[in-house]
Symmetry: C2
Subunit: 408 residues, 2 copies
């Protein structure tokens, strides 16, 4: 039950019904392809006549295409409809402290080309260099004309609407207006988003089997920082100033360990990669400077190494891991109590040890979950091999094609 915003509404015109139904048909085709017009009509509970028109329009818009004819026991054979995502391209960029990831993929999220290179922190050079790489990649892959935009994902606070990077401490970027520069340099429409929210968008918009029915979920990425995306009723929660979702800095204990954000006791300060490593090595974070907090270089000892040692029988490594797992679960409990999602997606280096930590996480979650139903919220691990952040960047471009039309 949604309230109509009397300051910002859209009246229905005589074409609104068609727009709505065309979009519904498109989504059904995407999920059930290959599918015949007759089958689509049954799923939509409308007559085949209507579907004929809708399909014709979608074909004209180059959103779907007719494929082979199918088989039936009796009667005329159906002609199958397919979604057209293979020849619609997007550039996805993930800027991290150590490396920048650049991918070309289609609208289904399928990877066509990937480049990984050292991040350039000076903005003008970063833009210039990236534009060159993008042009080269598009040319090499013969995707010059079919690329519909570029999604950029950044670890930090981003105002998606204005394209302003408010604060990305890992990159040292603050109040950087990079979107329009990139758009000008590449000639592509550019979308910028926080990495946690973007990854949630990937789960929401790109084709996946297991998650078709989930309309409310949380995406939690545990890495250098903790990125969170909140999806409620099929819509990403962006908030009034477009900074919603920052569960990473809720306190577990107000006077807990020091966090990169400058506060103390944040969830992130308990479960980030640095926190896990600190437990293992016995570092005292409160005594480290901000710069050394950032500086755990790419070639040094990482959480992946720690996981390997834990698997090898290093008891201290396992203890550090279990401690992180416990705090992860305690934080998830709060999220579950507040948002009550139908599932939670987890990503990040520690999730490679999921078989080792799942029990501890669930136990801690149950400890502070207010109902047994909430305690049983499904936890799904998203593999790092899928490049969830890059998929999120791509989803920023692909999403508008499939979204419900704004009405009322």
């Amino acid at each position: 039950m949604r309230r109509i915003n009397t300051r910002d509404f859209r009246v229905a015109t005589r074409t609104t019904s068609r727009e709505i139904n065309r979009r519904i048909a498109l989504n059904l085709i995407r999920e059930h392809q290959p599918i015949s017009r007759a089958d689509l009509a049954r799923r939509m509970s409308v007559t085949r006549g209507v579907v004929s028109v809708l399909a014709h329009e979608l074909i004209e818009q180059e959103l779907i295409y007719e494929g082979a004819t199918g088989e039936t026991a009796r009667g005329r054979k159906p002609t199958f409809l397919h979604i057209r995502t293979q020849d619609r391209m997007a550039i996805a960029v993930d800027v991290r402290f150590s490396k920048t990831y650049l991918m070309l993929c289609d609208f289904s999220g399928r990877q066509l080309a990937l480049e990984i290179y050292d991040t350039i922190f000076a903005i003008p050079q970063f833009v210039k260099d990236l534009a060159v790489r993008v042009r080269r990649m598009l040319k090499t892959q013969g995707a010059d004309g079919s690329c519909e935009g570029m999604g950029v994902v950044v670890p930090g606070m981003v105002d998606h609407r204005t394209g302003l990077i408010l604060n990305a401490p890992a990159l040292g970027w603050r109040d950087v207006a990079i979107r329009d520069q990139l758009a000008a340099a590449t000639g592509l429409p550019v979308q910028i988003e926080n990495s946690g929210r973007a990854s949630a968008q990937a789960q929401l918009w790109l084709e996946r089997e297991e998650a078709a029915g989930t309309q409310s979920f949380i995406y939690v990425s545990v890495s250098d920082g903790v990125g969170v995306g909140v999806v409620v009723n099929g819509e990403l929660v962006r908030g009034h100033d477009h900074i919603a979702g920052e569960f990473g800095h809720m306190p577990l204990s107000l006077d807990g360990p020091r966090c990169m954000c400058g506060m103390t006791g944040c969830w992130e300060a308990y479960i980030s990669n640095l926190a896990t490593l600190s437990r293992y090595f016995g570092w005292n974070l409160s005594k480290l400077s901000s710069n050394s907090l950032r500086g755990a270089g790419p070639d040094s000892f990482t959480v992946l190494d720690l996981v390997a040692r834990a698997r090898g029988g290093d008891a201290k490594a396992n203890t550090a891991l279990q401690s992180t797992a416990r705090f992860l679960g305690l934080g998830l409990a709060t999220i579950v109590n507040v948002v009550n999602p139908d599932s939670i997606y987890l990503a990040g280096e520690v999730t490679t040890a999921w078989d080792l930590i799942e029990g501890t996480v669930r136990e801690a979650l149950a400890e502070r979950a207010l109902t047994t139903a909430a305690a049983r919220t499904p936890l799904r691990v998203v593999s790092t091999h899928e490049y969830p952040r890059l998929r999120g960047a791509a989803a920023l471009i692909a999403a508008p094609t499939f979204a419900a039309p704004r009405v009322a």
Copy 2:
């Protein structure tokens, strides 16, 4: 940008456009009454012809009525349209530990009758007694035919969809299916909801001047417990199991004071009335039993008395109050970082001392808010005299009349 749920969607029919526009018109009339058809047409950016038809239908549905003719500088005088909320009634019930509140009001939230009596904790007697009171009240007020439903508000966890009270510790109710019993006993449709969420519904659906533009907000009620309702994009967040919004039990410090819920360190354990009083009297909550936690009776010393003493110059009382204010602000900071609402509504006994505590609350909020914009989130106090929980109960019945039609 909302994703279409392919498991649960609604195709547009040839009457969908009309339904949408009729509902938009109704909401605009409610907000700008008295308003002429021509003015309405301008606000909706449609022709007067369309508005004529919409208005005719709304009059037939008895949702609006034609009033007096207005004045204009030149030309034909307009006939004003008015919303019809005065003769549509709802019964609102607020069940609390000490008292039960029963109100008859119209769809604008205007109070017509109010009864306050000692709460009966035995379910069968509670139902029987309430049914008698409701029938008597409807008869006395001559509202027998025009009452469209009963909203019941309870402090605790409620599954609004099934009408099941999962756990209301203050009442000692657990897994109680009270909705259908009440419906059978009164012959009215019954809606049950948690008090925090219901109060948020009141802010969302009942007529208020100052809140017309806010589509994302939080309602926080600080009383015996902490009730929270979250509204995102004009829609109450209910969650997958309908238990969303429980910010009251997020930890401020994991090993903090004991909470009524059985856990430790919950926000509620820092700011509830009991917590405030405990600070003043130097009680040690961890040593009290669950029963004595509940048992702060109606005639004993309350937070209102404490506020009076603080105003009278009692330094200890003021200290206790400021401490609560500080923890209130710290908790609000997390909410602001997570949901990033456009405003926050505050209710409860401590808010009567708002002039004393606002500074401390804002300071604590700013301390842990991640952006300056978030730190400046408007805080609005909802007066207890308005009976926000009862208004919430009424809103449960009135809301469907004004909600946007479900589409796509």
